[in-house]
Each structure stands twice: as C-alpha cells, then as structure tokens.
C-alpha cells in the first residue's frame, strides 16, 4: 500500500526524471510489491505445502512402491499396486459400495432436507424448536451417533425392532446382513446430515421474493406448478452448493462406518475411504492404500470439474 502511494505521488513532485532512474524505481516498486505479496501468501502457502501438497506428492510416490510402513526398505513396483486394485474383486465391490452410498447419502439428505425445509417454512407451532432438533445431529460426533444407532438397529432388543414389531414387521438383521448393512449406514448418515441441508434450504426458501409467487398465482399456477416453476429454479444455486459439499463429504464418510460395521459384514459397507484406511492401517500395504487414495482423489477431482463445467451452467442465480 505504502509503495503504491509514494510511487503515484512521485512524478508530480519530481517533475522530470531520467529513464534509468525510473526503471530502478519501478524495479524497487515491484520488488516491494512481491515482497508484500509473499508476506501475505507465504504462511498459507507454507501450511498448504506441508499439509496438502507434500503429502499428495509423497502419496503418489508411495503408490508406486511396496512398503509395510515398518520395514526400512521400500521396493519400487511401478504400476503393480494399481494393477492389483483393478483386478481385485474386493476393490470392485468397494467402488460399487461407494457409488451406492454416495447416491443414497446425497440424494437422501437433499430430498429429505428440501422436504423438511418446505415443511418448516410453513407457519407452524413449535417451528423453531423443530428446526433446532433437526439440526442437532449435524453437530454431534459421528462416532457417538454410530454407537447409539448400533443399539437402535439391533434386531432383538433395538428401538427400531420394537417400532417395526408394532406394525407387524420383523426387523432385518441390519448390521449383520450384507443386504441391509449399507442401507442402514446410509440411513444413519442421512439422519446425521439432513439438518444441514434443511437449514441451508430454509435460508434459500426465505430469500425467494414473495412477488414471484404472487405473479405466478395471478397467472393461475397451482401449488405444484409454483413449486416447479418458482421454488425449484430459485433454489438451484443452493442445490448446486449442497450437491457439491454433500458429494465431497459423503465420499469421506468414515466415522460412522468404522464404528458401526468396520466395513463389514463381508465388505458390504466397505467404501473407498474405508478401504484406504483398511489397506493402510489394518493390512499395512502403504502402496495399495496410496493407490486407492489416488483413485479416490481422481474421482473427486473429476466430479468437481464436471460440476463446474456443466452443472453450473444450469444454475439460476437471481
């Protein structure tokens, strides 16, 4: 700031100046400017470098070696770790689980979030209380939630079994039946995260100008029509934001799975992030874990690019 001010003031005071002098001054200015820039950026860059970029680079290196994290020797194996992953039945299952989990978790929390937001946008009694209750799980620790839900899901004495029993349905073995474990984990994830979508959607709903609805009403649009033509398009930036954050978060959902199922039974809830953990810190295959982590990174990177490139064009910013 100082540099710029003194420079802009300089010509008026000096009147005429020789060209070489001007160049030196200019250089000094840019040097000062760069210095200032670095001063502001360096701490951040340094932290990013140490905690983000450097680990990414060493991860790339680790994905090319065979190493058990204990032995002093890392054996270079080229692309063998990647070859292993793509020939591994378990890894295919893991990719499938990740896809199902992501679609279920993102779809569930967005749809339910929108529905509850619409409901809570009505003038109901206890509305504020309901909002607080709905948002609360978002703030709780995933590990604690997981443990409580393990009891809720128990087919013999769990709360859910009682409720289902009340309407004459016998409870599935949620967490020990491979067919039900992934849905169970998705339910818990959605339960934990729906409050966040609700709150964001609610803010979005309240930001929609009422005159749009009035105009639509004048044109003879019914409730559903108004929802489709006014509410949804006006919410699209919110939806876009939620889809991105929910997608990236759901890919990294670890705590609930670790606590509730440890990826089981028989890998039924083993997702990419859990697989990375399992390969790295249970099986001690640093190479395979690193390769799987890069696959996860590539998927998330591709999703982000795709969203920025295509999805954003369809978003309506008011």
């Amino acid at each position: 700031m100082l540099g710029r001010a003194s420079l802009s003031a300089a010509p008026e005071i000096d009147g005429v100046r020789s060209a070489p002098q001007e160049i030196t001054r200019r250089r000094a200015f840019w040097r000062a400017e760069w210095f200032l820039f670095l001063l502001f950026v360096a701490p951040n860059l340094l932290l990013f470098g140490i905690f983000s970029y450097w680990p990414m680079i060493s991860n790339l290196y680790l994905s090319l070696v065979r190493w058990d994290m204990i032995s002093p020797v890392k054996t270079f194996v080229g692309s063998a770790n990647y070859a292993y992953l793509f020939n591994d039945n378990e890894f295919r299952m893991v990719l499938r689980n990740s896809a199902v989990f992501t679609v279920g978790a993102v779809g569930g929390s967005l749809l339910l979030g929108l529905a509850t937001a619409l409901l809570l946008n009505q003038k109901l009694r206890w509305r504020n209380g309901a909002r607080a209750v709905l948002f609360a799980p978002t703030l709780l620790s995933g590990a604690a939630i997981g443990i409580v839900w393990v009891y809720i899901f128990d087919p013999r004495f769990g709360l859910l079994a009682r409720l289902l029993g009340g309407i004459g349905i016998s409870s599935p073995s949620w967490l020990t039946d491979p067919a039900w474990a992934l849905p169970a984990v998705i339910i818990v994830y959605v339960w934990k995260n729906v409050g966040f979508s609700t709150v964001i959607y609610l803010a979005g709903l309240q930001a929609i100008p009422q005159d749009l609805y009035e105009a639509a009403r004048v044109d003879g649009a019914g409730v559903l029509w108004r929802f489709r033509s006014v509410t949804l398009p006006m919410l699209s930036p919110i939806t876009f934001f939620l889809v991105i954050t929910a997608l990236l978060n759901s890919f990294q959902a670890f705590d609930i799975i670790k606590v509730m199922t440890e990826g089981g039974p028989v890998d039924a809830t083993n997702t990419l992030i859990y697989y990375v953990y399992e390969q790295g810190f249970v099986a001690y295959n640093a190479g395979r874990a690193a390769a799987a982590a890069l696959v996860l990174f590539a998927i998330m990177f591709a999703i982000t690019l795709f969203q920025l490139r295509y999805a954003e064009e369809r978003v309506h910013y008011a």
Binding site: D68, S71, P72, S173, T176, G264, P265, F281
Partner: protein, 445 residues
C-alpha cells in the same frame, strides 16, 4: 542359560553383515557395560514409557500392575499409556517408529510382534535375561518359545490365552446337556432345541461366531486342527484349501446355514446377555464375561469340543522392548517385564483377568491353586494348556494373515459361499502375501 547366550554370540558373528543387526547388538553390549552403574548413580528414577492395549476390567488390571511395579522399587518409573486394541497399538507403534517417538516397551499381540521383529525394531533380550538372572525355564515352555527366534528371545509372554468353550449351564440343562459337549456333533444334535425365535429373528442362538475383526480366524485355527487340517506348514506352504480344511469350512458354513449359529456384532456380549447359549472365546475374556453375566444365569468354561480330534491354539499378547530405546531405558524396561512376568506379577494378572499364568511356579503356587478351587472356570485354561499348540505361521507371521482368513470365514459363515471357492482364493492371497516374509526371513539369515 549360558548355552543360549553363547549360541546367540555365534549368531551375532554370522549376522555381522547386516548393519541393523549389528547396531542393535552394539546397543545391548554397551548397555550391560554402562547402564548398571548409571542406575545406581542416578537419584532420579529412569522413566520408561509403556504402551498397553487393554480396556475395561483388563485395563484396570493393567494399570494396577504398572502401579504395583512403580511402588515396588525406586529405580524405574513406568509411565503407562493406553493405545487401543492390539491392532491400534501396532498401528501407533508403526507410526511412532517412523517418527522416532516409540515407547521403550510395548504390548504386542501374537499376530504383530513378528512384523516388528522382521523390521529389526525389537531388542534381543538374552543379555538382559542373563544379566537379571531370570529363570526362563520357569516360564511355561511353549509360551516362552513362541517369542524365541534362532535361540534369541524377543517377546516374553504376558497376557497369554487359549480359546475356551463358554456355555450357559441353564440353557444347556433345558435340552438335557448336563456337561459341555465333548464333540461338536453333540452340540449340533441339540442345537435346534437351544435356538429360540421370535418370527424370523433368532432371539437365542445355540452358538455365536465373532467377526473377522474380533479374530474368528484365531478360533477357526483350533477348529481346522480338530478336522485334522491346518492353515499352513511352518515353511509357509498354505494348506487351508486342502480337503480337511474344506471340511472344517463346511462345518462353519452349516452352523449358520442350518440356523443354529449366528455372527453378531459382539458375540461375547451376546453370550453374557443370554442371546446365545455358547461361544468360543479367549481366556482373557473370562473376567469380563463373569462380571457381565453376574447373577443372570450360571455359565461354565470347558475344553473346546472335538471334531475328529482335539485341537486348540494359544494366543494373546506378550511384551517386547524397542531396539531403538537407549540402553539404560532397555535395562529399566526389562525390570518392568521381569516384574510383570514374575511369579507374583503373573499370578496377580491371571487372577484379575483370566489370562493364564505364564510361569510354572505360579500355576503350582498355593495361592493360585486356592484361587482355582474357588473359581473353577479359571482353571480350565491351565488344564487345557498342555494340549495346545502354537498357531500356524499363515495367521501369525504372514502380514494381515489373520484378517485375510477372517474375511474368508465371514464370506462362508455370512454369505454361505462355497468353502472350496473361498479357501482357494484365500490360499492364493496368503501365498502372495507370504513372499515378502519369506524373503525377509532369508535376509535375516
């Protein structure tokens, strides 16, 4: 004693080429020369960092024994840090070794110590054993020998266990079984009567398996022997997919396919709550199960049932000293190990946990005998011990071998997949994963 030490010296000469090996040996030599005077000179006690793995009733006992040691002498002060399960302790130790922040002494389970040994991370203990005049012949031989490689001891037995058959006496009496079944077939016969159902939900199973993460592969080690099979030969030839192994796999498959066994999240909790009439579980679970069952029903422990013959393995954890610790700390850490595995130490530990006493003198002591008299469930493990064997290398020496076999067993028990198909795949994986170990062992000479 002198014999083992001299054998080790011969080994030292042979391993002279391996830089790491010589480095650790150098440490130990220095330690015997200098550390002892250092202990005397120092007014401040030497502090030793100990990493342990037990929670609940076992954790209290672990903490108590550390405290007892600290109060018993002035020279060494052990700081106890709980690190989570066996797996988590090993994870953290791995990270700590990388960061050079490792503890001086750590608890390591049967499936973990060997990896740290292969990485030259464990200190050889023979010199320390000799310097402290520890009578190793008093250790129960099979337990002590499991931690010995080429005549050198690296891993001393502390919390050693065998699987036991736990059964609900009340439930078994209902179906006319007055004693534990001697053969699995006897259990299978009455199993349908033991099972209780509410609609399709089994509210009481006849038997329950643990998950892969809770070491189903440890228990199946015993079962595969009962069917005259094995996981592997000592030379890492994998045998799990041989006909005897498949037969054992078929038996496990039938247990859930025929609807008398389950695989719940926590089979020991299920047993303690009457949700299953029997389980196989570690001796180390005895104290916890006894407390959790309380007065709800009567339960007993028994030898494992037989299939074609009797089979039972040892397991559990032992103590090891880190090779990277300074010599005086190694010395101090050994004092702690000596105390924990002493007759008094192991007696205390055993009575408070259910783990087996690791010393013959402790088993035979009046105190222990009186305790057994009062708590017959605790005696079973000691009586069964002479019939047990160390586990096959496929589970304990192949990295992740336990989890690889466990995952296969889950497929068989939960998904009811064909044991032949599953075990063929498991055998392939085990063979592949064994290669680095075979190479590492060869490199150690």
């Amino acid at each position: 004693m002198t014999r083992t030490v001299s054998r080790r010296k011969v080994l030292t000469g042979a391993a002279g080429v391996a830089a790491a090996a010589t480095a650790t040996v150098g440490n130990v030599k220095r330690s015997t020369a200098f550390a002892a005077p250092a202990v005397i000179k120092q007014a401040e006690p030497i502090s030793v960092l100990y990493w342990g793995s037990y929670s609940a009733a076992l954790g209290e006992a672990e903490q108590a024994i550390v405290q007892m040691f600290n109060e018993s002498q002035q020279d060494v002060r052990v700081e106890y840090q709980f690190q989570g399960t066996y797996e988590e302790t090993a994870q953290k130790l791995t990270a700590a070794l990388q960061a050079r922040q490792a503890p001086d002494v750590s608890l390591l389970s049967d499936v973990w110590w060997f990896r740290f040994y292969l990485a030259n991370a464990l200190a050889p203990l023979n010199d320390l054993i000799a310097a402290n005049e520890v009578d190793t012949s008093d250790y129960i031989e099979s337990l002590y020998n499991e931690g010995v490689r080429d005549g050198v001891s690296y891993w001393l037995p502390m919390a050693r266990s065998t699987p036991l058959f736990y059964y609900n006496v009340d439930a078994f009496a209902e179906v006319g079984l007055e004693e534990a079944p001697e053969f699995w077939s006897q259990l299978v016969e009455v199993a349908p009567e033991l099972v209780q159902k509410d609609g399709d939900t089994i509210t009481r199973a006849a038997f329950s398996h643990p998950t892969g993460a809770s070491y189903i592969a440890w228990l199946f080690q015993a079962v595969i022997w009962q069917f005259e099979g094995a996981y592997s030969n000592p030379d890492f030839t994998i045998l799990i997919n041989e006909p005897d192994g498949i037969e054992a796999g078929e038996f496990y498959r039938s247990s859930t396919a025929d609807g008398w066994a389950t695989l719940p999240a926590d089979n020991e909790a299920d047993f303690a709550n009457g949700l299953t009439a029997s389980v196989m579980a570690s001796t180390g679970s005895l104290r916890g199960i006894t407390e959790n069952v309380g007065d709800k029903f009567e339960f007993r422990t028994a030898f494992l049932p037989k299939a074609e013959e009797f089979g039972c393995c040892t397991g559990g954890a032992g103590l090891a000293i880190m090779a990277g610790s300074p010599p005086e700390k190694q010395e101090a850490a050994f004092k702690f190990i000596e105390y924990v595995t002493s007759t008094e130490g192991t007696t205390f530990w055993s009575q408070n946990t259910g783990y087996m006493p690791v010393r013959k003198s402790a088993v035979e002591s009046e105190e222990m005998q009186a305790f057994f008299e009062e708590n017959p469930n605790f005696r079973t493990a000691v009586e069964q011990l002479p019939l047990t064997q160390p586990q096959d290398v496929a589970r304990v020496f192949i990295p992740n071998g336990d989890q690889i076999i466990g995952a296969g067993l889950e497929r068989i028990v939960i998904n009811l997949e064909d044991p032949q198909v599953v075990f063929d795949e498991v055998a392939n994986t085990l063979t592949e994963e064994a290669q680095p170990v075979i190479e590492a062992i060869a490199a150690l000479g």
